[in-house]
Amino acid sequence: MDQLNYNEQQQFQKIVEQKQMADFMRLYTSLVDRCFNDCVNDFTSEKLTDRENSCLTKCAEKFLKHSERVGTRFQEQNQKLMSQMRQ
């Protein structure tokens, strides 16, 4: 991004913000789908069982923590890669 001048950075920032909403929604819908697939397998009733409810909660929290840890490591690795490329 160093190659963009101030004006271009402003424009790009707008694009980034527009995408953040879409990114958040993608995270959300994929989380629902992932946890539904892993936790819900009983279709003898139309209500979630206690076990399914508990599984969904743990699945969602666990994935969000996973997501946070991967995010931190991803940024570290990305910075390492960039500094190698600049040498």
Binding site: Q18, M21, A22, M25, R26, Y28, T29, S30, L31, V32, D33, C35, F36, N37, C39, V40, N41, F43, T44, S45, E46, K47, L48, E52, N53, L56, T57, A60, E61, L64, K65, S67, E68, G71, T72
Partner: protein, 92 residues
């Protein structure tokens, strides 16, 4: 068409309102397609002996959609809990 209540903030520009409505539409579409796929995998075998839905399959679909919406609410609550607890604060 206000699935998670987006677009309800006051005093935003036309452009922002349209853009929020579009994002919401995209999310509903994505969720519908995922649900379509998940309930298909949960409720059908792949023998394809007939092109009709059996009674069991129809019943399974109805329950699957219902449970998908409840799972949706549940996961949304978990995200809010995790969000409030600050675990994800440092992440942008």
């Amino acid at each position: 068409m206000s699935f998670l209540g987006f677009g309800s903030q006051p005093q935003i520009s036309t452009e922002q309102k349209i853009s929020a409505a579009e994002a919401e539409l995209d999310m509903i579409t994505t969720m519908f397609n995922q649900l379509l796929d998940s309930c298909y995998r949960k409720c059908f075998d792949k023998s394809y002996n007939t092109e009709d839905l059996t009674q069991n399959e129809s019943l399974c679909i109805d329950r699957c959609v219902s449970k998908y919406f409840d799972a949706n609410v549940k996961v949304s609550e978990s995200m809010q809990t995790v969000g409030r607890s600050g675990v994800l604060q440092q992440k942008k």
